[in-house]
C-alpha cells in the first residue's frame, strides 16, 4: 500500500507540476533547480524556496509599505525592491510572479500609483497562489519520501 501510495504521490506531484507549468506559474528554471538537487544537498530545492519565500515576504511587505500612501511613495525604492524580487523569482522559475513584477515595474516607471497598487494586488495574489502550490508540492514530496522510506528502509536495514 505504502509503495503504491508513493507512486500515487509521485504521480500527483507530477500532475501538480505539469499544471503549474501549464498555467505558466513555473518555468523550466524550476526544473533546473530540481536538477541541482543531489545527494550532497538533498533538501536544496526546499532550502532555496524557503529562502525565496522569506526574502519575497520582506519585499512584498516593503512594497506594500511603500505604496501605502500615495504622497510618500518612492518609486526608485520600489524599483530596487522589484529588481530584487524579480531576480530571485526568475532564479527559482516563478514565471508569473516575474511577469507581474515587470508590469509593476512599468507602472512604477510611469509613477502611476493606482496602477502600481493594482499590480501589487495581483502580485500578492500570485505570490499566495505560488506559495500554496509549492507548499502542497513539498508536502507531497515529504510524504513521498516518507512513503518511499517506509518501503525501502527495511530492505536496506
Amino acid at each position: 500500500m505504502l509503495g503504491l501510495d508513493a507512486a500515487r504521490l509521485e504521480a500527483d506531484m507530477n500532475r501538480l507540476m505539469a499544471q503549474l507549468f501549464h498555467q505558466g506559474v513555473l518555468d523550466e528554471q524550476f526544473m533546473q533547480l530540481q536538477q541541482l538537487q543531489d545527494d550532497s544537498s538533498p533538501n536544496f530545492v526546499l532550502e532555496v524556496i524557503s529562502i525565496y519565500f522569506r526574502e519575497s515576504e520582506k519585499m512584498l511587505t516593503n512594497l506594500r509599505h511603500q505604496l501605502a500612501d500615495k504622497e510618500v511613495t518612492d518609486y526608485t525604492k520600489i524599483g530596487v525592491h522589484l529588481n530584487h524580487l524579480m531576480g530571485s523569482s526568475s532564479s527559482i522559475g516563478a514565471n508569473r510572479i516575474t511577469t507581474v513584477c515587470i508590469a509593476l515595474r512599468a507602472a512604477s516607471e510611469q509613477c502611476s500609483w493606482a496602477r502600481c497598487l493594482r499590480c501589487l494586488e495581483v502580485l500578492e495574489h500570485e505570490y499566495c497562489y505560488l506559495k500554496a502550490r509549492l507548499h502542497e508540492l513539498f508536502q507531497m514530496e515529504q510524504q513521498r519520501v516518507i512513503a518511499a522510506g517506509v518501503r525501502y528502509r527495511p530492505q536496506l536495514a
Partner: protein
C-alpha cells in the same frame, strides 16, 4: 510651437526666426517706403498744384489789371467758352449784370469796354456832329411828322442802322504776351512734374536697396539677438496676423494714393485745358474785336452814305437794288456781319403813305416760327404789323438778309429796345444774344442810328463763329492721369499681392515646419520606443528561448530514438539561430542609429583568429573542409582596436564561408597592407593568388590550400583606397584580412546587393541556405567604422574571396590588461625545439610552420617524401639543439591517404638502410588531419604516429597536444563534450559568487558546485573587494551587476585598481630577485539578466572579462569560463 522646439534644434528654429524677422522688416520697410513714396508724390503734385494756382492767381491779376476783369467774370468767361451755347447766353447775362456800365454804354460785353471806349474816343469828332444831328433831327422829326407819311423816302427823320454782330472778346496785346509766358511756365511745370515722377521712382528703388541692405544687416545681427528671437518666435502667429493687417492697410493706402493721384492729375489737366482754352479765347476775342471795329466803322460809314444819298437827295439815289449790290460788294469790309439792312422810321400817320409808296404792307416780325428761311419764303404771307406809334420797316437789305425787307423792326422786342436806345445815344447798340429771325442762329443785333440823312438800318442774323465749334468738343479723357494712377494702383496691388503671397507662403512654411517638428518629435519618440522595445523584447524573447533551449538540452540528455533526437537537435539549433538573429538585429539597429562606438583596447590579433577558428572547428571538421589561418609575421603582436568587433566581422565572413562551402578549404590570412602592396607582383609562398595550375603526377590541382581552384582577388584589391594611397601614417597598422573559400560562389547578378541588409544572394523562399543576410551588412558597417573597406571577388562554382582592410594602432607588448581569450604562460615549454613539416602543398606547410613558430618551435618544410626522409635522417644523425623533435605530416600530403602511409616509408628505409642506428632517438611523428575515421585512428598508432593533431590548427590546441605527446608540462588533453568539459574546467576551482539576492546566490552556488567548483558566496560588492584582495585563493569571480550600495561595475573597477597596484609592486620585486612571475588578474564574470550589448560593453569597459546570463546557461558558462581555464584544463580520463 516654441514650447516644443526650444529643447530641440534651436538652430533650425533660429533660421526660421531669422527669415521671419527679415520678412517682417522687409514688409515694414516696404510699407514705410510706400508711405515715403506717396508722400513724395503728394508733395510733388501739391507743389505742382500750388504753382498752377500761383500761375492762375498771377494771370488773374494780370487780367484784372489789363482788362479790369474780375475773377468772377473770368471764371464766367471760361465756363462760357467750355460750355454750350445755352450756358454761353446765361454767362452773358451774368457778366452783363456784374457790369453796370454795360447798359450805360449800351455796348457789348464788359471785356470789350475799353476797346469800345477807345473806339468812341477815336470817333468822338464824328459822334459829336452826329449827336448834334440827332438833336437836330429829333427837333425836325416833330416838325416833319407829316412828311413821314409821304412815300418819299428822303424825308424820314430817323434811320436805324442795325447791325448784328457776333460777340466779341477783346483782349489787349499785352495779354497775348502773358499767354505765351504762361505756356512756357506750363511747359516748365510739366517738366518738373516729369522730374518728380522719376525722382519718386528713384526713391522707390533706393528704398528697396535700403531694404535689402537692412535685411543683410538683420541677418548678421541675428546671432546676437538669438535670445530675443526665441521670445519673438512665440509671437510669430500673432505677428503674422499683424503683418497681414499692415499689408491690407498698405494696399488700401496705395489704392487711395493712386486715386488721389488720379484726382489731382485730372484737376491739373482740366486746369491746363482751361488755360489753353482761355488763351484761345483771348486770341479769338482780339481778332473779333478788330473785325468788329472794322465792321462798326463801315456800318458807320454806311449810315453816313444812306443819310447822304438816300435822304440828302430827292429823289433818292439809292434803291433796294443799289443797296443790295453795294452792300454785297462791300461785305468784306464787315467781316462779322452776315448782312446789313436799313429800316426807316415811319410814324403811324405816315404808314399808309409809306405802304403805298413801297407797294407793300409793313409786316410784323414773326417770333413763333423760327425755322430757317426756305426757298419759298414769301414775306407777303406775313401778318401785317399791328398798329403802333411808329414803325421801322426795313426798306433796304443785303441779299443775305433779304427776307426781312418790309418787316417792322419795332415789332421785335429786342430790336425795339435797341432802336430806341440807339436813337437816344447816337451810338451803335448791341442786343443781348438771341435767336435771330428765321435763321435759328444765336446772334446779337447791332443797331446804329442814322439821323435824318442816314440810311435805313437793318437787323441781320449773325453766324456763329467757327472757333466755338472747336470749343464745343468734348474734352479728351485725361489719359495721363488715368494711366499714372492706374499704374500706381496696379503696382501697389501687385506688390500687395506679392507680399500677400509671400506672407501666405511663409505662414504655410511655418505651419509645415511646425508639423515637421511635431512629426520629428514623434518619430524620435517612436525611435526611442523602438529601441526600448527591442531591448525589452530581446530580453523577453531570450528568457522563453532559454527555456526552450534548456528544455531541449534536457530532452537531448534523455533516451531518444534517432528521429526524436533529430527533431530535438533541429529545434535547438533553430532556437540558437533565433537568439543570434536577435542579437544581430540589435546590432544592426545600433549601427544604423550611429550609437555604436568602437573601443580601443590592446589585443592580439592571432589570438582573436584562433578563437574565431575554434568556433568553426566543429563545423569544418564535420564537413571535412580545411580551415586554416595564417597571420603574417610582419603583423605586430599587439594591436589597439576593438577585438570584439573585429571578431564579429571575422565570424560573419568565416561563418558565411563555412555555410556555403561543401568541400575544399577556407583560408583566412592576415597581412599588412604595405606588405601585400610590395609583394603584389611577386608570388610569395603564402599568397597563392596566381591560380597556377600545377601538374601533379596524378591529377591537375591548383596550388592552393586544398588544391581547389580559388578566385583571383588581386585586381579588385587595387581598387582599395589603401592600395592607391602612397603615404601611410607611421603609427597606424593597416591590416588586410582575406577570407578565401571554395564554396558555391555568389551569382553575378546578386553581387551588387550583397552588402544590403537582409539581402541574400538567393532570396527565394526555397533557398538552400538559411540566415537573414544581415551579417554582411553589419560587417560592412563595422569595417567602415574601423576606417577600412570591404570587398569580394566571387565566381559561381569556384568560390568567393572576401577581403577587408582595417586600421589599428600598434600596441605595446606585455601590457597588463590586454584582452586575451586564453593565457599562453606555458608556451615557453617548446622554446628551442625543431620540427619538420612534411607536406606536398607549400601553402599548407607554411600555415603549419606559422603555428609551430608561434609556439617557439623552429620549423622546416619538406615538400616531397624523399626530401623529408633525407631531412629526418640528416637531423637524427645530429644531436643537441639541431636535433629534430617532431615531424608533422599532413594526412593528404601528396594526395588522399598519402600522409598515413608516410611512416611506412620511414620504417622501410630504417629497415633497409644501415645508416641509422636503431637506438638513435627518432623524432615524434604527428599527423595533421581535418577529420579522421575510427579505422584511421586505429591505423594511426600502428603506422607509427604518436598522435593526431586535428585541424583547424590552433595555438592552444596544438600546445596541449604536443605537450601530451612530448611530455612537457602537464600533458592532458581536453575531450569534447561540454558538461564534462565544464566539469573538468571548474573542478576544484575556488570561485567567489557575489550577489545580493539570497536566492540567486544559492542557485548560482549550487550550479557551480554541480560542476565541481568550490564556491564561496558574499552578498555585496564591498565584501567581494575584501575577499579579492591579492594573495587570495580564488580562481574566478562571478559578480552580479545590479546590487544595492555598490554595483558590480564599481566593485570590479576597485578590484582591478587594487590588482594593478599589487602588480606594480610585484614587478618591482621580480626585477630584483628574478623569481616566479605572478600576474594578478582574477577573472571576473558579470552575471546579468540583461543581454543587451550595452551591458556587455559596460562590463568590458570596467574591467570584467566576460559575462554570463542569469540563470546560468551551460554552453555560455563554458565558453566564458573556458577562456581562463582551458590552457590548464584537465582531462578526467587521463
Amino acid at each position: 510651437m516654441g514650447g516644443q522646439n526650444r529643447g530641440l534644434g534651436s538652430s533650425n528654429g533660429g533660421e526660421c526666426e531669422g527669415c521671419r524677422r527679415l520678412k517682417a522688416r522687409f514688409l515694414v520697410l516696404c510699407v514705410l517706403s510706400g508711405f515715403v513714396g506717396s508722400i513724395g508724390v503728394f508733395w510733388g503734385l501739391g507743389s505742382y498744384g500750388c504753382r498752377g494756382r500761383d500761375l492762375w492767381e498771377e494771370r488773374a491779376q494780370v487780367l484784372v489789371e489789363q482788362s479790369n476783369l474780375s475773377k468772377n467774370q473770368l471764371q464766367a468767361l471760361v465756363l462760357l467758352l467750355s460750355s454750350s451755347e445755352r450756358t454761353f447766353a446765361q454767362c452773358m447775362e451774368k457778366s452783363r449784370a456784374s457790369h453796370d456800365t454795360y447798359r450805360a454804354e449800351g455796348g457789348s460785353l464788359s471785356c470789350i469796354r475799353e476797346a469800345i471806349c477807345f473806339e468812341g474816343k477815336r470817333r468822338r469828332g464824328q459822334q459829336d456832329c452826329v449827336r448834334d444831328e440827332i438833336v437836330r433831327v429829333g427837333h425836325c422829326a416833330v416838325q416833319n411828322e407829316h412828311i413821314l407819311v409821304n412815300p418819299v423816302p428822303s424825308l424820314p427823320k430817323n434811320e436805324y442802322m442795325i447791325d448784328t454782330s457776333q460777340q466779341n472778346f477783346v483782349s489787349s496785346p499785352v495779354q497775348n504776351d502773358i499767354t505765351l509766358l504762361k505756356a512756357k511756365k506750363l511747359i516748365n511745370t510739366a517738366k518738373e512734374h516729369q522730374k518728380l515722377l522719376s525722382k519718386i521712382l528713384w526713391w522707390i528703388l533706393l528704398g528697396l536697396l535700403v531694404l535689402f541692405g537692412l535685411g543683410e544687416l538683420s541677418k548678421s545681427s541675428y546671432k546676437q539677438n538669438h535670445q530675443q528671437k526665441h521670445l519673438q518666435l512665440q509671437n510669430s502667429k500673432s505677428g503674422g496676423k499683424w503683418m497681414k493687417k499692415i499689408l491690407y492697410m498698405g494696399v488700401f493706402l496705395g489704392v487711395l494714393v493712386s486715386v488721389w493721384i488720379f484726382v489731382s492729375m485730372n484737376a491739373n489737366i482740366i486746369e491746363r485745358r482751361t488755360e489753353t482754352l482761355a488763351n484761345m479765347c483771348d486770341e479769338r476775342a482780339r481778332m473779333l474785336q478788330d473785325q468788329f471795329n472794322v465792321s462798326m466803322n463801315h456800318v458807320h460809314a454806311m449810315a453816313i452814305l444812306i443819310s447822304t444819298f438816300h435822304h440828302g437827295k430827292n429823289p433818292s439815289a439809292i434803291d433796294q437794288k443799289t443797296f443790295a449790290e453795294y452792300t454785297a460788294r462791300t461785305a468784306f469790309e464787315r467781316p462779322l456781319t452776315s448782312g446789313v439792312a436799313y429800316a426807316l422810321k415811319v410814324l403811324h400817320s405816315q404808314r399808309e403813305l409809306f405802304e403805298q409808296q413801297h407797294g407793300w404792307k409793313i409786316k410784323k416780325m414773326e417770333t413763333e416760327d423760327h425755322s430757317p428761311v426756305q426757298d419759298d419764303y414769301n414775306p407777303e404771307k406775313l401778318n401785317p404789323s399791328p398798329i403802333q406809334d411808329e414803325y421801322a420797316p426795313v426798306i433796304f437789305s443785303q441779299e443775305t438778309v433779304s427776307h426781312i425787307v418790309s418787316i417792322d423792326m419795332m415789332s421785335g422786342k429786342e430790336d425795339h429796345d435797341n432802336i430806341l436806345r440807339a436813337r437816344s445815344t447816337g451810338k451803335g447798340v448791341l442786343t443781348s444774344p438771341f435767336k435771330l429771325l428765321k435763321s435759328n442762329h444765336l446772334g446779337v443785333v447791332l443797331t446804329f442810328a442814322v439821323y435824318n440823312s442816314d440810311l435805313p438800318p437793318n437787323a441781320i442774323p449773325q453766324e456763329r463763329i467757327e472757333a466755338t465749334v472747336g470749343f464745343k468738343n468734348e474734352p479728351p479723357l485725361p489719359w495721363t492721369a488715368i494711366t499714372t494712377s492706374i499704374g500706381v494702383a496696379v503696382i501697389v496691388l501687385l506688390v500687395g499681392h506679392i507680399f500677400y503671397a509671400a506672407l501666405n507662403r511663409i505662414e504655410k512654411v511655418e505651419d509645415d515646419y511646425r508639423e515637421m517638428r511635431e512629426l520629428k518629435v514623434r518619430a524620435e519618440a517612436a525611435d526611442v520606443a523602438k529601441s526600448q522595445f527591442l531591448a525589452t523584447v530581446s530580453h523577453e524573447i531570450r528568457t522563453p528561448m532559454n527555456g526552450v533551449l534548456g528544455m531541449l538540452q534536457m530532452l537531448l540528455d534523455t533516451e531518444l530514438d534517432a528521429t526524436q533526437q533529430d527533431f530535438a537537435v533541429t529545434a535547438q539549433q533553430s532556437g540558437k539561430a533565433l537568439i543570434t538573429l536577435i542579437n544581430e538585429v540589435l546590432d544592426q539597429a545600433k549601427i544604423e542609429s550611429g550609437r555604436l562606438e568602437l573601443e580601443a583596447v590592446p589585443f592580439d590579433v592571432r589570438d582573436v583568429l584562433d578563437n574565431v577558428l575554434s568556433l568553426f572547428s566543429d563545423k569544418s571538421q564535420v564537413k571535412g573542409i580545411e580551415l586554416a589561418v595564417y597571420v603574417s609575421d610582419q603583423v605586430p603582436e599587439v594591436l589597439i582596436g576593438d577585438p570584439g568587433r573585429f571578431r564579429q566581422i571575422l565570424t560573419n565572413l568565416i561563418g558565411n564561408s563555412v555555410k556555403f562551402t561543401e568541400e575544399g578549404h577556407i583560408f583566412v590570412s592576415v597581412h599588412l597592407v604595405g606588405e601585400v602592396k610590395i609583394s603584389n607582383n611577386i608570388t610569395s609562398p603564402i599568397s597563392h593568388e596566381n591560380a597556377e595550375v600545377r601538374t601533379n603526377c596524378r591529377d591537375k590541382s591548383y596550388n592552393t590550400l586544398s588544391g581547389f581552384q580559388v578566385v583571383d582577388r588581386r585586381r579588385n584589391l587595387e581598387n582599395f583606397r589603401m592600395f592607391k594611397s602612397t603615404t601611410e601614417p607611421s603609427d597606424s597598422v593597416n591590416l588586410l584580412v582575406t577570407v578565401e573559400d571554395t564554396g558555391v560562389g555568389i551569382p553575378e547578378d546578386a553581387q551588387s546587393r550583397i552588402f544590403t541588409p537582409f539581402m541574400q544572394a538567393d532570396s527565394s523562399t526555397s533557398r538552400t541556405y538559411g540566415g537573414t543576410g544581415i551579417g554582411l551588412s553589419i560587417s560592412k558597417c563595422l569595417v567602415d567604422l574601423m576606417g577600412g573597406e570591404i570587398g569580394f571577388v566571387s565566381k559561381p562554382g569556384v568560390g568567393s574571396t572576401f577581403f577587408f582592410t582595417a586600421v589599428f594602432t600598434e600596441g605595446k607588448k606585455n601590457s597588463g590588461d590586454m584582452k586575451r581569450y586564453h593565457f599562453d604562460a606555458t608556451l615557453s615549454d617548446f622554446w628551442g625545439m625543431r620540427a619538420l613539416v612534411v607536406d606536398g602543398r607549400r601553402v599548407r606547410a607554411e600555415i603549419s610552420k606559422y603555428h609551430l613558430q608561434r609556439l617557439g618551435i623552429q620549423a622546416d618544410i619538406a615538400t616531397d617524401p624523399k626530401a623529408a626522409l633525407s631531412a629526418i635522417f640528416e637531423a637524427s644523425s645530429l644531436s643537441g639543439t639541431s636535433k629534430l623533435d617532431m615531424v608533422l605530416v599532413d594526412k593528404e600530403a601528396w594526395g588522399e591517404g598519402s600522409g598515413l602511409a608516410f611512416p611506412s616509408h620511414l620504417t622501410d628505409l630504417r629497415r633497409n638502410g644501415s645508416t641509422i642506428k636503431p637506438r638513435q632517438s627518432t623524432p615524434k611523428l604527428f599527423l595533421l588531419a581535418t577529420s579522421l575515421s575510427l579505422t584511421e585512428i586505429d591505423e594511426l598508432k600502428s603506422a607509427g604516429y604518436i598522435d593526431c593533431i586535428r585541424k583547424p590548427l590552433r595555438l592552444s590546441m596544438m600546445a596541449v597536444c604536443l605537450r601530451k605527446a612530448l611530455g612537457v608540462g602537464i600533458k592532458r588533453q581536453q575531450v569534447r563534450g561540454q558538461p564534462l568539459a565544464l566539469q573538468s574546467l571548474l573542478k576544484e576551482k575556488q570561485i567567489l559568487v557575489v550577489d545580493d539576492n539570497a536566492v540567486n546566490r544559492r542557485v548560482a552556488a549550487a550550479a557551480l558546485k554541480k560542476y565541481g567548483a568550490i564556491v564561496t558566496c558574499v552578498a555585496s560588492g564591498k565584501e567581494a573587494i575584501v575577499m579579492l584582495q591579492p594573495r587570495h585563493k580564488f580562481d574566478a569571480c562571478f559578480m552580479d551587476v545590479q546590487m544595492p550600495e555598490m554595483d558590480g561595475f564599481e566593485a570590479t573597477r576597485q578590484i582591478r585598481s587594487c590588482e594593478k597596484k599589487i602588480n606594480e609592486l610585484i614587478e618591482r620585486e621580480v626585477s630584483m630577485d628574478n623569481g616566479d612571475v605572478t600576474h594578478w588578474h582574477t577573472p571576473i564574470l558579470a552575471m546579468t539578466a540583461d543581454v543587451i550589448q550595452a551591458t556587455h560593453d559596460e562590463c568590458l569597459r570596467c574591467g570584467m572579462d566576460g559575462y554570463v546570463s542569469k540563470p546560468f546557461e551551460e554552453e555560455q558558462l563554458y565558453s566564458a569560463v573556458a577562456r581562463f581555464f582551458e590552457s590548464d584544463a584537465v582531462d578526467p580520463t587521463f
